[in-house]
Each structure stands twice: as structure tokens, then as C-alpha cells.
């Protein structure tokens, strides 16, 4: 695969999205999933949480327009497997996420989209979220390769799932081409599965 897929570092200003167990129904309400493309998903990101009586409220996504790094708390993206949720974040502008923890399907989806999703402890996350509130124009940098996040004068160690790191750094997060090249091995596997008929 070409080198343009390598993701070693992402950066930009931040947006805190505080709260534990934020589910994908909040990130992207189901009624906006009736479109056959992801093109407009950014418009629906946190649609309900961002509005009071139809008007934009002071939700962080309204206050930190243009941000690239989302900072979240624990079990983010739980619930439905809809890729619409990380797609909406990506299309809104999020290039990387720092947080306490992610629901697994959500993290897998981030990997498929090339969005690094790194983790650190609760206190560190809260400090970063507060720092963003005080420094809305401050740059945050996620160094995927070295597992570090830096902002202001601070550099913190973060963790990133091994497979995600490898995939991003090596530029192999688009798994279709990779797995497609193993076609003959797939045939060998299916030959031993009594319930799979040879493809005809």
C-alpha cells in the first residue's frame, strides 16, 4: 500500500467531550442513519445534546469548532456498532481521540477509519480537558509511534492498542487489500469447514 496511509502523528486544537458511557445513540441518533452515504454525518454529530429547543447550546462541540483532537472519558462509544458515529466525528474534523477507555466496536471502527484512539488515566484526561477549556487555541499533538501526547509544556505517556498502532504506523489500517491478498489461504481454511460450500 502507498505511503500516504501511514499515520504516525495527528494534531490540532482540542475539544473535551466529558462523560462516561457516552453511547453511539448520543453521538449519532438513529433517526439520522437513514441516508445511504456517510456524506452528511457531520451535521448530525451529537445532534440532540448540542441543541436546546432547536437552538445550539453551549455543548463543547459548539464552542470548540475547528478542533481536531477529542478528549473523552471512559467507555466512550458503547452501544450500537454503527460506524456512523466515528464517521460523523471524522467528518466533523476529529483526527485523533484521547480518553480513558473505548467500547471495543467503536475502537475497531476508529482503526478502520485511521483515527488513533489513545488512552490514559482519569486524572490525566481531566487535566487535559481543563487545559482545553483554558486554551481553546492550544495545539495538542498525538504521537502514535512514541505513544505520547503533548500540549502546552506538557508531554504525557499514553497507551495505544498494539494492533491499532501497528496498523496506523505501517499504513495498513485499510484491511481489505491486505486480506484480499490472502485469498488462497482463505480457500484452504474454508475447505476444512463442513458448512461452507465451495463457491460456485
Amino acid at each position: 500500500m502507498s505511503g500516504e496511509n501511514h499515520i504516525t502523528e495527528v494534531g490540532g486544537t482540542g475539544v473535551p467531550i466529558p462523560g462516561d458511557d457516552i453511547d453511539t445513540d448520543q453521538i449519532l441518533p438513529a433517526r439520522f442513519m437513514k441516508e445511504v452515504t456517510f456524506d452528511n454525518m457531520a451535521d448530525y454529530l451529537f445532534y440532540d445534546a448540542r441543541r436546546d429547543d432547536g437552538e445550539f447550546n453551549d455543548h463543547p462541540l459548539n464552542r470548540f469548532d475547528g478542533a481536531s483532537i477529542a478528549v473523552i472519558n471512559s467507555n466512550f462509544g458503547c452501544g450500537s456498532s454503527r460506524e456512523h458515529a466515528p464517521q460523523a466525528m471524522m467528518r466533523w474534523g476529529v483526527d485523533g481521540i484521547v480518553g480513558e477507555s473505548y467500547a471495543e466496536i467503536f475502537r475497531d471502527n476508529c482503526k478502520s477509519l485511521g483515527i488513533p484512539a489513545v488512552t490514559t488515566d482519569h486524572e490525566t484526561v481531566v487535566e487535559l480537558q481543563e487545559w482545553i477549556e483554558d486554551n481553546p487555541d492550544g495545539e495538542i499533538d498525538i504521537d502514535v509511534e512514541n505513544e505520547e501526547v503533548s500540549y502546552g509544556d506538557t508531554t504525557i505517556d499514553v497507551e495505544i492498542d498494539d494492533a491499532m498502532k501497528e496498523a496506523l504506523v505501517e499504513g495498513i489500517w485499510d484491511t481489505t487489500a491486505l486480506m484480499y491478498s490472502n485469498r488462497s489461504k482463505v480457500e484452504e481454511t474454508t475447505a476444512d469447514l463442513p458448512y461452507v460450500e465451495g463457491d460456485d
Binding site: 462516561d20 458511557d21 453511547d23 445513540d25 448520543q26 441518533p29 438513529a30 433517526r31 442513519m33 437513514k34 441516508e35 445511504v36 452515504t37 456517510f38 440532540d48 472519558n73 471512559s74 467507555n75 458503547c78 452501544g79 450500537s80 456498532s81 454503527r82 460506524e83 456512523h84 466515528p86 477507555s101 467500547a103 471495543e104 466496536i105 475497531d108 471502527n109 478502520s112 477509519l113 498494539d162 494492533a163 491499532m164 501497528e166 496498523a167 505501517e170 495498513i172 484491511t175 481489505t176 491486505l178 486480506m179 484480499y180 490472502n182 485469498r183 489461504k185 482463505v186 484452504e188 481454511t189 474454508t190 476444512d192 469447514l193 463442513p194 458448512y195 461452507v196 460450500e197 463457491d199
Partner: protein
């Protein structure tokens, strides 16, 4: 790492290669497709000029947007976006030689209801679907995983996903369920004990006498909500109950071929001396009907308990979540959920939309009518379920009691069709998620419970203990509750 479990065996049999990322390339033997999460994936395939690699292992139906009122199922659908999604699925499946169970087929319904009843889901398979409740199929002793749209593209193009092997936690459910306590209560109890993120990094193997005693429909309900407990998948080892259920179903081989297939099924069962990463025990004898009081499936209590105080929780985040839940649900700590006013009763979904669920609820409804202030919806999980209920006269019981008897779909589980909560209505629901906004209204309030409890709530117009309806002796029902409370 676990050793000798069904999970290990099925994984090894389907592992194609180790990828450079360290993940495994895993072959998917059954790929289920629905209208909401697939159009973008078919689009990606077209962009890359790739064909569907294993159309014979791929099956589609329509569920999320399916109108449940008969007259609204005529084409084109009145909702333009729904029509566009349905047409896209029809086009994508026919162009790629994929079997599609549409309205006309008589087999349409929720993927996780349709695949089991047609015999598509079998032991020793890997099953994937662009839907988190794919864990459901684990009830047969398969590995069922929910995937995102990019992964759907992967499965369509290569028949495979890139996946990490998880740890296996065995959950032993000892004892025996009491009357009026169901599979749904077992899984709610497990989520109460282990939390909504307790399963992260794990798949759950459910075992023990109370699990073995469940019929396939009960097992499907348990595995279905594995995801609400944070587990990536959940499964039950196949046994005679499984094989009996499978025998004679449309996609299950017959005669000698059945016996041969059964040998494979037997071969993937967890060994007696299998090693688990973790073992947890739950006692079914002690379980009373459970229901949620909050806004995630872990905010759940037994009917005999009262709503907790935020201070009862150790973690700050749990306390905050409890406060938010109390506020949204408009309830007080220390209050009983019994008597909580209900506006809507909803029976259906991939958790509890099967024949047994309607049959159990019908036992409660027999001779009663739905409260005047309650809107009550019965939505079969599939057209096959609907027909069987109608053949057995179960629909009559519902209609006579004052329920609307609908056609198959996801319906008010997530309100992508016309079925939705209005304003701050309270819904007694047999579904699996009580997240804010899930049932279509930002202020709507969802109380998750078993089908029997939904029926009882429909009759009373408030949360009630279904066991009181099951007792022949009216006084006996109430005393049953007291016994359970002490």
C-alpha cells in the same frame, strides 16, 4: 489465555492468517446484512471494483426501517429515505447474488430472529453482521460479532475480518429460575453484577444448570444482551436442545448429512478441562424479575428492591450517572419501581420478539385488558414468528386485550420507522437499550424488562410484578413477592 474452550476451537478453525498488525484474519461463515449499515459498504466495494467473495454465505433482510403497519408496507414506502435504503438493499443483493428476505418472501424480520429460525445460525460458525446484537447467534455455540461498515466491506470483499482474540469468562448460572422469572432476568442480573463495561476484553461463555434448562429462545435472549454487558460476544455450548431445535429447519441438512454435521458441532464444544481466564457464578434461585430504573442497562434492580441512592455507588462516575438517571427518569432514590406510571408497552425486538416471548406475555394478558392510558404494541421479531403466533391464536389474546398486533421489524427499539415515543412518555419495553433518545424521543423514558413484565405493566398502567398474574390463587401471588423480599 483460555484453552480448550469452544471459542478457542472455533477461532482456530476459522483463522486464515496472522496479519502484520498482530490481529488475526478470521473467516466469517455467515454474514448477515440489513439496510442501515450496508449501503455504504457496497458503495466502497463498487469504488474498488470488487465482487462479493462469498455470496452463498451472505443473507440479507430488512428490519430497522421496516414499517410495522400492514398498509404502510406497500411500495414505494411513504418515507422517502426508507424507500431509498430498501431499494438500495434490493439492488445490492440482487446484483451480487445474495439471498434477500424481503416483505414478499414471508420470511422478513430482524436479522437476529430470522437467521436462527431458518437454521442459518449453527454451532461452530463465525457470524458477523453490521449490528452489535450479532452476539445473539452465540446461543447455538457460534462466535457472533457485531462489526462496523468498513468491516462489512472487508467481509463482502474477502469473507474475513481482522480481529483480536479475546479472553473468555465463564459465567456459571447455578440453580433454577422461579416462576415468572425468565432468561431476560438472568442476563439483566449478570449485567447488574458485572456492569455495562464488565465484559470489555472478554467473550462470555454462559453455562450451568439454569442455562442448560433454557430453550433456544431463552438462550438467544441471554446471548443477545452480552453486548450490553460490554462483552464482544457471548455463547452457549451446543447440546441436545440445540440439535433438536435445528433439526428440520430450512437451511439445516437432513438425514445422514445432519448426523455428519452434528459430529462437527460436537467437536467444537468446550472441553471438560478447558481453561478460562475468569469464572463467575450467579445463582438463579435468588433472582427476582429485574427491570431498569435508569438510562443504561446496568442501572437495573430486582423488582423487590428500591431505586439506589447515588451515594450507594463507590465510583464518582457511577454516582454522577445515577444522578443523571434519576433526573431523566424523574424518580427518587429509595422509591420502589412498582407503581411507576407507564404510557407505552412495547413487546418485540431481537431480544424478546420470538414465539415464546409472546406466549409468555399472553399468559399474563389472558382475561385482562390493557389500561386505558396505555398505548400497547406487539411487534413480532419476524414474519415467521407472526405467522406462528397467529396459527396458535396468540395474536387473538393480544388483540382482545387491547394491544396493536403489528408486522415484523425493529420498531420502537430504536424508532427508525414510524413507531416512536412522544415527549417524556414512559415505555415498559422488552428491548435491550434504555439510552436517552433511543426510542425516538429525547425526553422519552425506557424501562427494560421481560415480556411478561411488559404485559403486566400494560394491564396495570404502571410497573407491576408479573408473578401476581401467574398465581391461580389471587392472594398467593402477593405473598410470593413478600417471600422473595425477605
Amino acid at each position: 489465555m483460555s484453552n480448550g474452550t469452544l471459542y478457542d476451537k472455533v477461532w482456530e478453525k476459522h483463522k486464515v492468517a496472522e496479519l502484520p498488525s498482530g490481529q488475526d484474519q478470521l473467516f466469517i461463515g455467515l454474514h448477515l446484512v440489513h439496510e442501515v449499515t450496508s449501503p455504504q459498504a457496497f458503495g466502497m466495494l463498487r469504488e474498488r471494483d470488487l465482487d462479493v467473495a462469498y455470496p452463498n454465505q451472505t443473507f440479507a433482510t430488512t428490519d430497522h426501517i421496516a414499517p410495522t403497519e400492514a398498509e404502510k408496507r406497500e411500495r414505494p414506502l411513504t418515507d422517502e429515505q426508507s424507500e431509498e435504503m430498501l431499494s438500495a438493499l434490493e439492488r445490492n443483493t440482487s446484483e451480487n447474488g445474495i439471498t434477500f428476505f424481503g416483505f414478499e418472501s414471508g420470511k422478513q424480520g430482524i436479522t437476529h430472529v430470522v437467521a436462527p429460525e431458518l437454521g442459518l445460525s449453527q454451532p461452530g460458525m463465525t457470524v458477523a453482521c453490521g449490528d452489535s446484537h450479532t452476539a445473539t447467534h452465540g446461543a447455538f455455540g457460534s462466535i457472533g460479532v457485531g462489526i462496523g461498515t468498513s468491516q462489512i466491506r472487508d467481509v463482502l470483499a474477502t469473507g474475513c475480518i481482522a480481529a483480536d482474540k479475546q479472553n473468555v469468562r465463564r459465567i456459571n448460572v447455578e440453580g433454577e429460575l422461579g416462576e415468572g422469572v425468565y432468561a431476560k432476568d438472568i442476563i439483566l442480573k449478570i449485567i447488574q453484577d458485572l456492569g455495562v463495561d464488565g465484559g470489555v476484553g472478554h467473550v462470555y461463555e454462559y453455562s450451568g444448570p439454569a442455562i442448560e434448562a433454557l430453550d433456544m429462545e431463552g438462550r438467544l435472549a441471554v446471548c443477545n444482551m452480552s453486548i450490553e454487558g460490554g462483552a464482544r460476544a457471548g455463547y452457549i455450548n451446543p447440546d441436545e436442545t440445540t440439535y433438536e431445535y435445528l433439526q428440520g429447519r430450512e437451511y439445516v441438512p437432513e438425514g445422514e448429512a445432519f448426523e455428519e454435521r452434528k459430529e462437527y458441532w460436537e467437536s467444537v464444544k468446550s472441553d471438560d478441562d478447558a481453561e478460562y481466564d475468569d469464572v463467575v457464578t450467579v445463582d438463579a434461585d435468588d433472582i427476582d424479575p429485574l427491570l431498569t430504573w435508569g438510562i443504561n442497562p446496568g442501572q437495573v434492580i430486582e423488582i423487590t428492591d428500591s431505586v439506589p441512592h447515588p451515594e450507594d455507588f463507590e465510583a464518582r462516575t457511577d454516582r454522577e450517572a445515577a444522578e443523571q438517571a434519576l433526573d431523566h427518569m424523574d424518580i427518587e432514590p429509595g422509591q420502589s419501581m412498582l407503581g411507576y406510571d407507564v404510557d407505552v408497552a412495547f413487546l418485540g425486538t431481537c431480544t424478546n420478539g420470538r414465539v415464546t416471548d409472546f406466549a409468555e406475555a399472553a399468559k399474563i394478558l389472558e382475561g385482562h385488558t390493557v389500561d386505558d392510558d396505555v398505548r400497547a404494541l406487539a411487534v413480532p421479531g419476524s414474519e415467521t414468528v407472526r405467522e406462528e403466533c397467529e396459527a396458535r391464536g396468540i395474536d387473538e389474546t393480544f388483540i382482545n386485550a387491547g394491544f396493536q398486533w403489528r408486522r415484523a421489524g425493529c420498531s420502537m427499539c430504536l424508532a427508525m420507522n414510524d413507531d416512536s415515543l412522544e415527549g417524556d412518555e414512559v415505555c415498559a419495553s422488552s428491548s435491550n437499550r434504555n439510552f436517552i433518545g433511543r426510542q425516538g424521543s429525547k425526553e422519552g423514558r425506557t424501562v427494560l424488562m421481560s415480556p411478561a413484565m411488559v404485559a403486566a405493566a400494560a394491564v396495570e398502567g404502571e410497573v407491576a410484578d408479573a408473578r401476581e398474574f401467574l398465581s391461580d390463587d389471587p392472594a398467593g401471588g402477593a405473598s410470593g413477592v413478600e417471600e422473595a423480599a425477605d
